[in-house]
Amino acid sequence: MGRYAQRRAEPGIDKEDQEMKRSTDRILTTHAGSLPKPPDLDAMLRTKEAGQPYDAPALQQRLACAVAEVVQQQAEHGLDIISDGEQSKTSFTTYLSERLAGIETRRGAMARAVSDRQRQDFPEYFAAQRTASPGVGRRQFYCVGPLQYIGRDAVQTDIANLQNAMAGVQVEEAFIPAVAVGTVEHWIANEYYPSDEAFLFALADALHAEYRAIVEAGFILQIDNPNLPDGFGLYTHLDVRAYRKFQELRIAVLNRSIAGLPASRIRMHVCWGAHKGPHNTDIPLKDIVDLMLAVQVEAYSVEAANPRHAHEWHLWEHVKLPAGKILIPGVVGHDSDTIEHPELVAERLCNYAAVVGRDNVIAGTDCGFGTSRLHPTIAHLKLQTLVEGARLASQKLWGR
């Protein structure tokens, strides 16, 4: 894999004084990025996405205001490592379609979903859940020319909105999520490059510009790579062995996309798809953990609260988390509208602390609460229970 990671450290990024915050004297808290949007903002974004006329200055104004509100909310909840809530994006992944040149949009629905492997087992359940798959709406995307990043203004707007929103709030740190190459591959079909590999590397280079802008602005970059686990649900023709081989290239490409950026400023989120289905065919973490750890980032955010994956903390009894790395297990989830009891959150955090060390654990969420089907109030109550559970765990772990 090393042969791909050739980009050198870039000017403008000072590694020395920008260490990622760790749980040194208590368990820090964070989440997976997206948070509920105000309905009026959501409506404006969807109008824009649909190509209908919209009031651009009004949207910009509402967006800045929404980011300020969501940052304020996170600070009030007591969250330590916060985000812009992805307020500017209708989807954590297809937002990129507006930031790339070389792709074409055509009408029609996506033919595949990350729940496809389970669909084979429970067809009547999925038939009743017409919207169960986190699809991308009635659009299809094709790569028809050289890929180029054209999102500099958009990402700078995200950065400026978050910087402005941070003034006056007390938090430890802030991150901005950006999508990973392999996840983009889920919804852009290549019709231009001669091979998947050529397409993926071109995509990696385009995405690098976005990643770099976020790191240079002083924020933690969160690479959203659900593809590593949930691609197994999508590429149903692959068995575990073939799937691992398939992912090896995607991981190499991902490393290429972040090469030159300090690992200490990057975390990666992986999950099995934010839908409330059976998840019985999810690939076990044990089958991909080495691939996950091969990504050159400081922290790994992994779904761990829901009942298909809540036992996987045991994996770390046998797998060593490399020195200096951080694990961000999801300790509250989107799989249920039931709000986790803080004592259960604390129990989960103590389990992780026991196997990887308390300093190496940050409390997170299974997935973004903006992309899943949680009622906004429930999403915020879950963030409160996360903070309360981390407080209880810190008392137990640090004895005060």
Partner: protein, 380 residues
Amino acid sequence: MQHSTYRILTTHAGSLARPADLLEMVRTKEAGQPYDHAAFVARVRTAVAEVVGKQLDVGIDVVSDGEQGKPGFANYVKDRLTGLVARTGVPPRISSDQAEFPDFQPPEGGTLNTRRMVCIGPLGWQDRTAVQTDIENFQAALQAVQPTEAFLPTVSPGTLAQNVLNEYYKDEEAFLFAVADVMREEYHAIVQAGFLLQIDSPDLAMGWHTQFPDKTLAEFRTIIARRVEALNHALAGIPPERVRHHICWGNGERPHHKDVELQHIIDILLTAQVGALYVEGANPRHGHEWKVFREVQLPEGMVVIPGVIDTKTNIIEHPELVADRIMNYASVVGRENVIAGTDCGFGTSADRTRVAPSISWAKLQALAEGARLASARLWG
């Protein structure tokens, strides 16, 4: 009652998904429309046989009739008792966990349970044959198979006091004990038939956030202590080891953040004259409460049946997680005193199929597989 003497036994909370054609008959019957009574009776009998076979197929040890013939776990009594009517238009109660966000609609589905039972006259039996039919259907289904044990669920006096609007008896106390006096016949009939009796008492936990959101904890404790006394009154003469007592916080996927804590009611629950205490233990609001049993001295011989499968969501528990949960309970009450169950039923109301039927069976398979994994760890 069988204990988990050499491996962890498995069970569930009673109700299971009805076949689609039977569900359609139940809907027609409940809507008061003309239906073919003989066909309904015959279909219930075959459905019970099918559901018993399926339970054994997926590895359930202590099986039920799946409540196949009942429209719901509690409201079935309206067809059996005098003095009750089902009334439409009674405004539903707003639970305290929903009060903060009136725009939240719990995705519970189903319409069979929307009518409120109202008591308008003296309670008594108008149809003593119904429970005998339940018993005979179950006995017939069990002729061909030999599960470890079999139970029939029935509703507690307290839950009827919660669900039924009393317009006849002078106060709640008189009503509660009138219910106890009448329901005891059903309890005795089930025990005499040789089945384990399961008493469903969701009111003892869910009552706080649904029926009594304005009461203090102390006031709620007083209310449920009295309800347990009424239950004990109805159970008089029945050996406790033939009775399991199911408690839950309401089988809906909803916030549940106002649920009363098990630690605050466990002492009262333990005053019930029963052989098994059956509580939710899987869903994320109550997944930590196995620790409550560290502090509790269980009566000699009492079994704890924790829910280790969530009946409110469609995500299928990993068997390793099921095993972890069982291990937690075994570590605090002893392996022989744990039977692995589900949080609640998969057909609490006949048409409330929030968990797709095929997924509910996959969940029961995960339960049995998790119990096997835990047994291997616990017995080596």
